[in-house]
């Protein structure tokens, strides 16, 4: 299974974020998504997660098209965004176990906790965790989701050097097993032969032509 972006375009509130994006990630590859702040990295990841509609072009994951069959596409995606989706009122272990239940995963949540060094604080309410620990807990969900394509939005934010190494190892294992990953990041994760998708701001002309009303942003 491979991911290919074919002339993918995105609009938000009538504003053109990017257009005619072409890129390809083969099975067993992790790609880096780079570009200056505000260029649309997070937007692209959310779009590939099926949360923002496709304005033009398409993304194909194997035989599944994002524009044609969003539901099936989403079922092959694991997304870790800026928000950790951690409930402060639940303990660390409960947080992860509930996601494993909702996702119907067979994976053992305790193993995922151990892998992220969270087993020692498993019984602690997530409200008492540090930002880095919450981030780890959010990322641990990847291990109880069983999806081929990982979309990671700045996974290293608020993590220490050891945890960054952990993420690198995790992604390496995932792609080693035939998975794919697209990672928006400003740091070097140290993964070997990583293709880079560089986003750049759309030209002024392209931004001009977008009229929110005429383009039907209200649809």
């Amino acid at each position: 299974m491979d991911l290919s972006l074919e002339n993918l375009s995105c609009r938000r509130a009538g504003r053109l974020i990017f257009s005619d994006l072409g890129f390809r990630i083969d099975a067993g590859q992790a790609a880096a998504l780079r570009g200056p702040n505000g260029v649309g990295k997070s937007t692209l990841l959310r779009q590939l997660a099926g949360l923002i509609p496709v304005a033009g072009g398409d993304a194909m994951l194997g035989e599944v098209s994002l524009a044609q069959d969003r539901q099936a596409f989403q079922e092959r995606i694991a997304y870790a965004g800026h928000l950790d989706a951690v409930k402060p009122a639940l303990t660390v272990a409960e947080n992860l176990a509930l996601w494993a239940g909702i996702n119907g995963s067979e994976a053992d949540p305790e193993k995922a906790l151990a892998r992220f060094g969270l087993d020692a604080i498993a019984d602690r309410p997530a409200a008492q965790c540090s930002a880095g620990q919450k981030k780890r807990l959010g990322l641990a969900r990847l291990l109880v989701t069983d999806r081929p394509l990982w979309l990671l939005d700045e996974p290293t934010v608020s993590l220490d050097a050891e945890a960054v190494g952990l993420i690198t190892g995790l992604v390496a294992d995932h792609v080693g097993a035939g998975g794919l990953a697209l990672i928006a990041t400003h740091v070097d994760l140290g993964l070997r032969d990583m293709p880079v998708l560089e986003l750049s701001p759309p030209g002024a002309a392209a931004a001009e032509q977008a009229d929110p009303f005429l383009e039907g942003a209200w649809l």
Binding site: L51, P53, E75, G81, L83, V86, K87, A89, L98
Partner: protein, 221 residues
């Protein structure tokens, strides 16, 4: 099915933990009804005549109080994005969350309603109409409320907007619920009205998940 169960358990657990506000709706319901005899006076015949309406209006307001909890927190901490990517259909998520909301508001209100009814001097022969009416009618409050909550999920502190949006839609439930008590009180059979109330709930159960899911998808953009 297993995923929906896990979602309902999660929501119930969150509602019952500190700050979840699970008991707030019921507490408000009880307090609001207890205030009525203090304001209206303790004349038995008057209280019995207004009891059905009072209980139902208090139930509507109590259900409103906790509606923003259905989706707001999950929207803000990213859980909603993850739920959209989960194997559950978003419509299933809505139905599960509305069910959890009902278990923490509608169900306890239904259970405590006969006690409050007695306090308002309702004859015990009328209590079945009250309890059955609430059991059949309050799920509609959670379902309609879920639609309102989904529409206003992107609005910070949208609680007031949500009330204005949802209260008019509660009118049919109020009419049929209160009317069932009134009919029983005057010796008529409450069943025709109860059946319409149940039909209303079924109608909401069929439609609300789709409406709320569509609103959530738009708000996720």
């Amino acid at each position: 099915m297993r995923g929906t169960g896990a979602l309902i358990v999660r929501d119930l657990r969150l509602a019952l933990r500190l700050g979840g506000g699970g008991g707030i709706g019921v507490a408000f319901f009880v307090l609001a009804v207890v205030l009525i005899p203090l304001g209206v006076g303790q004349e038995g015949a008057v209280l019995a005549r207004i009891a059905g309406g009072v209980l139902w209006i208090a139930a509507l307001l109590a259900a409103l109080l906790s509606l923003d909890r259905i989706f707001q927190a999950d929207f803000e901490d990213g859980s909603l994005d993850q739920l959209m990517l989960s194997p559950l259909a978003l419509e299933q998520v809505v139905l599960g969350k509305a069910a959890a909301h009902w278990v923490t508001t509608g169900l306890p209100m239904t259970l405590i309603a006969p006690v409050l009814g007695l306090m308002l001097n309702l004859p015990s022969a009328v209590l079945p109409a009250l309890v059955i009416g609430m059991a059949l009618g309050t799920p509609a409050l959670s379902l309609i409320g879920a639609v309102g909550a989904a529409i206003t999920v992107g609005v910070r502190r949208g609680g007031l907007l949500l009330s204005i949006l949802v209260l008019p839609l509660y009118i049919p439930s109020l009419i049929f619920g209160a009317r069932a008590v009134e009919r029983a009180l005057t010796g008529l059979s409450p069943w025709p009205v109860l059946m319409i109330g149940a039909g209303l709930t079924l109608f909401c159960a069929a439609l609300a998940p789709f409406a709320a899911a569509a609103a959530l998808r738009i708000n996720a953009r």
